[in-house]
């Protein structure tokens, strides 16, 4: 029958099961990426917005700075790195929030799916989308809008891809702290705008107040923009470029790991 008083000591509390070290499972990762892309395919308007808006903005910028092409070069290159970061941040934070609130996350984590598989799947899907977005924007800027890049456009694309990964990572992380889509969207100004102001887009970072310059030194977007400007000015891959790219990639990995920690198999 039932109901003894709850006196028994919690023997062998199963709260931390011996989960296998979740090494990435390639087929589960690609299945997740395929699923995310299939979801997007049912939403063509979102795809169109994601891909077209950066291009439209670049065209706009080109003619805003019609009289000073040098300014367009610098700001345009920076924006090529900033667009993927912002788009992927928004898309990922909403997508993961929906996954959390719809119960599908709970269902997936009750299945033999590693957290790494889920995150890598998202990163893969949105990374692919970011490549399309960045390729179009970079191509448009370099070949049609006269963006004067000394280095290889491939390097621009590489930085854009790393920025997209960083955006995905940040979006995943903040979605854990958002209880609704409203909150998730509000994290955009909270997380992205300060980096936008301090990344050197508006004024070179050495010209800022020393305190702000110090802050900008620890924000990943600063290195994304620096990296873009390295490509803009130098023919070869400079040591500074390599450092910037590594910092952005490292930040993305770090935040992805933090994001993985917010995916809980057990919730209250």
């Amino acid at each position: 029958m039932s109901t003894t008083a709850p006196t028994s000591v919690s023997t062998g509390k199963p709260a931390t099961p011996m989960s296998r070290p979740s090494a990435l499972n390639l087929s589960r990762t690609t299945a997740t990426a395929t699923r995310v892309l299939r979801q997007l395919r049912h939403d063509p308007r979102t795809i169109a917005l994601m891909i077209l808006i950066p291009c439209v903005m670049l065209v706009l910028l080109r003619y805003v700075f019609d009289g000073s092409p040098l300014t367009f070069d610098s700001i345009g290159a920076s924006l090529l790195g900033i667009f993927p970061l912002i788009t992927m941040f928004l898309v990922t934070s909403i997508a993961t929030l929906r996954e959390r609130t719809s119960g599908t996350l709970e269902r997936l984590l009750a299945m033999p799916l590693g957290k790494g598989d889920l995150i890598a799947g998202y990163a893969l899907a949105f990374g692919a989308l970011a490549i399309v977005q960045s390729a179009l924007a970079t191509g448009l800027a370099v070949w049609f809008l006269g963006l004067d890049v000394v280095g290889s456009p491939w390097l621009l694309l590489l930085v854009a891809l790393l920025d997209a990964l960083l955006g995905t990572a940040l979006g995943l992380f903040v979605s854990a702290f958002a209880a609704s889509e409203y909150q998730a969207v509000q994290f955009m100004p909270a997380v992205i705008f300060p980096q936008l102001l301090l990344c050197g887009l508006f004024t070179p970072r050495p010209n800022m107040h020393p305190a702000l310059e110090a802050v900008s030194d620890v924000l990943p977007m600063s290195y994304a923009v620096d990296g873009m400007n390295e490509v803009l000015k130098h023919t070869d891959m400079t040591a500074d470029f390599v450092r910037d790219a590594l910092i952005v990639a490292g930040c993305a990995l770090l935040v992805l790991t933090l994001g993985a920690a917010t995916l809980r198999r057990r919730t209250a």
């Binding site: 029958m1 039932s2 109901t3 003894t4 008083a5 709850p6 006196t7 028994s8 000591v9 919690s10 023997t11 062998g12 509390k13 199963p14 709260a15 099961p17 011996m18 989960s19 296998r20 499972n25 087929s27 589960r28 299945a31 997740t32 395929t34 699923r35 299939r38 979801q39 049912h42 939403d43 719809s102 119960g103 599908t104 709970e106 269902r107 997936l108 984590l109 009750a110 299945m111 033999p112 799916l113 809980r264 198999r265 057990r266 919730t267 209250a268």
Partner: protein, 290 residues
């Protein structure tokens, strides 16, 4: 990995893991926030049978199910599922779980939903053929073949919950935990689903733990766990319950047991001091029944 118990092993208990209950709880206690949702439950769910989990909404049914599948935090006491502590990684492919709200992707078709979850349960290109057969079977089981290519978001509520159920039928789970799977479904479909549940129990020797607050569904279960306010009122077969309480239906038996529990609660609260205090702080809202 078994849990070592403080108490000596039951001499009547069989050591054969195949014969041990599918779910065994001792002193299962769950606290959510400041509320103790489950209060030291002891019960066992036998293998190969349908166990109904019945009780009014808010009595802790869903929490018990979440604890069983390993998604509930702050679970104290012993809870053993298929020979492992609940939530063990080895259990993840052996349990099918359907939450109360349908948890499927609204922006995927029925088949795409199932394709994805099947790929998680049974990954790899070599398994593609088996997965396809599995998915087709699951869609047919829940009678959605004609809607297989519709977006889940465009389906009715009952249809969406059937998609959610189909996901749990993928693979061959040894334990199916279904949280109110028949809510909002029409009588014909409810009958069909219960026939399906019985077929799953009989043909696959699977164990089913099904919650409901509709008492007439209780008659279709092999065993019943009657719950109220975080405690188990009864753990028996429907026939034994009716006999014991001298009632015609499980519903009447349940009400009888609730009245008994309230009466017992009032006795300890008013008279006989030095009570064990096991029901202290427990003041049922519907006290007027008396």
């Amino acid at each position: 990995m078994m849990i070592i118990n403080a108490r000596p092993p039951d001499p009547a208990g069989s050591p054969d893991p195949a014969q041990s209950p599918a779910v065994r709880a001792e002193g299962l206690t769950v606290v959510r926030g400041t509320r103790t949702v489950l209060r030291g439950l002891d019960f066992a769910v036998p293998r190969g049978q349908i166990t109904g989990l019945l009780g009014p909404s808010g009595c802790g049914k869903s929490t018990l199910m979440r604890s069983t599948v390993g998604t509930q935090a702050k679970v104290a006491g012993t809870l053993e599922v298929l020979g492992h502590p609940a939530g063990h990684a080895a259990l993840r492919s052996r349990i099918g779980y359907v939450t109360q709200a349908p948890s499927v992707y609204d922006d995927l078709t029925v088949r795409q939903n199932l394709d994805y979850f099947a790929a998680i349960l049974d990954p790899g290109r070599a398994a593609a053929e088996r997965r396809r057969a599995n998915v087709t079977q699951a869609v047919a089981d829940v009678d959605l073949t004609s809607h297989a290519d519709s977006l889940a978001g465009n389906l009715s509520g009952g249809q969406r919950s059937r998609v959610s159920l189909a996901v749990a039928l993928l693979g061959t789970p040894e334990l199916l935990v279904l949280d109110e799977p028949t809510v909002g479904l029409d009588p014909v479909l409810r009958r069909d689903l219960w026939n399906l549940f019985h077929a799953i129990a009989a043909e696959r020797q699977a164990t089913l733990l099904i919650s409901s607050h509709v008492m007439d569904e209780a008659e279709r279960c092999h065993r019943l766990l009657l719950m109220r306010e975080g405690e188990i009122l009864a753990d028996d077969t429907p026939d034994a319950l009716r006999d014991r309480t001298g009632s015609d239906t499980v519903e009447a038996a349940f009400l009888h047991l609730v009245d008994e529990a309230i009466a017992a609660g009032n006795r300890t609260a008013t008279g006989d001091a030095a009570g064990t205090g096991s029901t202290s702080g427990e003041h049922p809202r519907k006290e007027t029944v008396r």
